[in-house]
């Protein structure tokens, strides 16, 4: 254990002192923790750590292998970038939430059993919800509650699946689902797919992310969906269902992005689209496809964060988020424009940017697996990606109609964070070998062939031609789009109506019956009871009462009325019960 420092622990315990630090000491501390975590991940050795027993089940706190190391590497790098981006925040709340969130994500990535995984899974949901609530305002708080409700529901589904599959297989160790998929396995899959935002379970993402704080959304864009990609890659590689859902997802996000007017919601729909490539790659399940999905997750975290940071900078400076209200910012924010565009080229998979060396691996894997329809669909989604994040969004946000907005470059720490992500986006694109070496399987793929470069440029630049020709058709409109959150947003209203009207009427009817029929009977019974009570029971009661009085006096001395004492007593009780239970179950 001494040679292994769990990076999750660094973040979660490291979050505790943040509220007590101030000024530049806090800033230094905030940067120190992610830096230490990067170091811990770089020096980590594959193996199993923290094996123990809990209520008769095997627990494995950390199982380190190549797949978990890739994700942990990019998670810790992203934590550092996100922290730099949020460094100017005066209040500690969001820093604490972000650290717990990152720590939980790392906990999931190293979890060797389902109980550990589930614990961190829920930690992620709660910590990230804070980043939405912290925005304040009616809209954000409502979205935060919806986000929390959806994730708690997903968590319950996951737990149900874990228990069912644990009962049938006898082990809670987390690994590839073997053999026939039972109900338990499907429930686990559903829980994972919810966090990966696979339609129709996608609406929580596009609902909540644009409502989060400027800095919080950057963290959210990176961790929740990508931990889901990791657990899918671990447990469900080669599941045919995922191929089709992933491909559909890639196009789904692109279609909605055409309709979207909110800049960060547009980017959120492109998370759905990009995660579609990863889900599809995992569904194919070949070594190359899983490599592609993993490397694409790595690249995606960095360029998506860069795009969210760019859009966040615009919101931070102007206070506006709708494309219909933005435009003409390139004069005052040229650096932001340039950094944003690097992210846009990376997500669109331009040669020498990170997406080019990772996304193409997924598409090539689909081609090798003789899935022509999928190749065509994913290529079409690539065109759509460039159309929106590379052309439409920057055009209407930075260029287009000049709205005469007062703007300036964002604070320096924001620009530095964007610069860090941008450097990595280009570095991965130009030198893909270090990333390829990290991947779970040996890589036999060369992205830079002549055909690949000309074909990619052909698709992308002729998409740009379509954009130029049909520019007016793409003008943003002041609307919102109905997604699958319609069911619970409107459904909640139906539920409230049922609670308000029929249920209330039923309750009134029941109380009427009790008043007319049940009450006279009860009165009679009470009179008879009183007679028995007065004659026979009193004697007994008086005796008992005296002894209780004496006991009560003793108890009164124990009752301090201080809540913390009660809580302490409850915790002691829970621990005692657990001890008794574990000893008894041996």
């Amino acid at each position: 254990m001494t040679d292994f420092v769990h990076p999750a622990l660094l973040f979660i315990l490291g979050a505790l002192p943040i509220p007590f630090l101030n000024g530049s000491i806090r800033k230094a501390y905030l940067l120190l923790i992610p830096a230490l975590a990067i170091l811990a991940v770089l020096t980590i050795q594959p193996g199993s750590y923290g094996a123990t027993q809990f209520i008769g089940q095997e627990i494995l706190i950390a199982k380190v292998d190549k797949l978990s190391i890739v994700f942990a590497t990019v998670f810790t790098i992203m934590a550092l970038i996100g922290t730099v981006y949020a460094l100017h925040l005066p209040r500690p709340g969001q820093h604490v939430a972000a650290f717990v969130y990152v720590g939980s994500a790392l906990g999931v990535v190293f979890a060797g059993d389902y109980l550990t995984l589930y614990l961190f899974w829920e930690g992620m949901a709660f910590a990230s919800a804070y980043l939405v609530f912290a925005q304040g305002g009616r809209q954000a708080i409502a979205a935060g509650f919806r986000y929390l409700m959806v994730h708690i529901t997903g968590g319950v589904v996951l737990l149900g699946g874990v228990i069912l599959s644990g009962l049938s297989t006898g082990s809670l160790l987390f690994g590839p689902i073997a053999g026939e998929m039972g109900v338990g396995a499907y429930l686990i899959l559903a829980g994972f797919m919810l966090n990966a935002a696979v339609p129709p379970l996608n609406a929580w993402l596009t609902d909540a992310y644009p409502e989060a704080t400027v800095t919080g959304a950057v963290f959210m864009s990176a961790f929740t969906t990508k931990t889901a990609v990791y657990v899918l890659a671990r447990a469900f590689p080669g599941t045919e269902l995922l191929v089709w859902l992933g491909t559909a997802m890639a196009l789904y996000g692109v279609v909605y992005a055409v309709l979207e007017n909110d800049c960060r919601r547009l980017l959120a729909y492109h998370i759905v689209s990009q995660v579609g490539y990863m889900v599809a790659g995992i569904g194919i399940g070949t070594e190359m496809a899983v490599n592609g999905a993993t490397s694409h997750a790595f690249a995606h975290i960095l360029y998506k964060a860069l795009l969210f940071m760019g859009a966040g900078a615009v919101i931070y400076v102007t206070g506006r988020r709708k494309l219909t209200e933005l435009g003409g910012l390139y004069r005052t924010m040229p650096l932001t424009v340039a950094l944003y565009m690097i992210g846009a080229f990376a997500i669109s998979a331009f040669p020498f940017f990170s997406g080019f060396v990772t996304k193409s691996m997924v598409i090539a894997a689909a081609g090798q697996d003789h899935r022509a329809v999928m190749v065509l669909a994913l290529t079409m989604a690539s065109a759509g990606t460039f159309l929106h994040t590379g052309l439409k969004l920057p055009y209407y946000m930075f260029f287009g109609t000049d709205r005469g907005l007062e703007a300036r470059e964002p604070p320096r720490n924001m620009l530095v964070a964007m610069g860090m992500a941008a450097v990595l986006c280009i570095a991965i694109g130009v030198f893909p070998q270090p990333l390829y070496a990290l991947l779970p399987y040996p890589v036999d793929f060369e992205p830079y062939t002549g055909v690949h470069i000309t074909e990619s440029l052909g698709v992308l630049m002729f998409t740009a031609l379509g954009f130029v020709i049909f520019l007016r058709a793409l003008d943003p409109e002041n609307t919102i789009s109905i997604d699958t959150d319609w069911f619970y947003r409107k459904g909640a209203r139906v539920f409230m109506w049922i609670a308000g009207k029929p249920l209330a009427r039923y309750e009134k009817a029941v109380s009427d019956v009790s008043e007319t029929a049940a009450l006279p009977f009860l009165h009679g019974a009470a009179r008879a009871g009183l007679w028995i009570d007065l004659t026979a029971v009193d004697a007994v009661v008086n005796g008992v009462a005296r002894s209780i009085q004496r006991g009560g006096g003793a108890l009164r001395r124990l009752q301090t009325g201080v809540v913390t004492h009660y809580v302490l007593a409850m915790i002691v009780g829970v621990i005692a019960a657990t001890v008794v239970f574990t000893v008894a179950s041996r």
Partner: protein
């Protein structure tokens, strides 16, 4: 330097230069696609030079109009106070 590049893409006075540069790039890409060496063509379209240009353009047009159709005609797009 960065500001000058960004301004080149934003300022109205460079519009005609931008357009010429753009068309030049398009032509060069198609020419390059004809010249490039194709080893193993897995699918029919892999053997067609210029296919990616056509497919990219058609994808773009299809995505724009199918999405807008779904938004306007199938009722996906609603007023902003729809949920209030």
């Amino acid at each position: 330097m960065i500001k000058r590049v960004v301004d080149f893409f934003g300022d109205e006075e460079h519009a005609s230069q931008r357009r010429r540069l753009f068309y030049l790039v398009l032509v060069l890409i198609v020419i390059a696609d004809f010249l490039v060496h194709r080893e193993h063509a897995e699918y029919l379209w892999d053997r067609l030079p210029g296919w990616s240009a056509v497919y990219g353009f058609l994808s773009c047009v299809l995505l724009i109009f199918v999405s807008k159709f779904l938004g306007h005609r199938a009722g996906l797009m609603r007023r902003e106070d729809y949920y209030d």
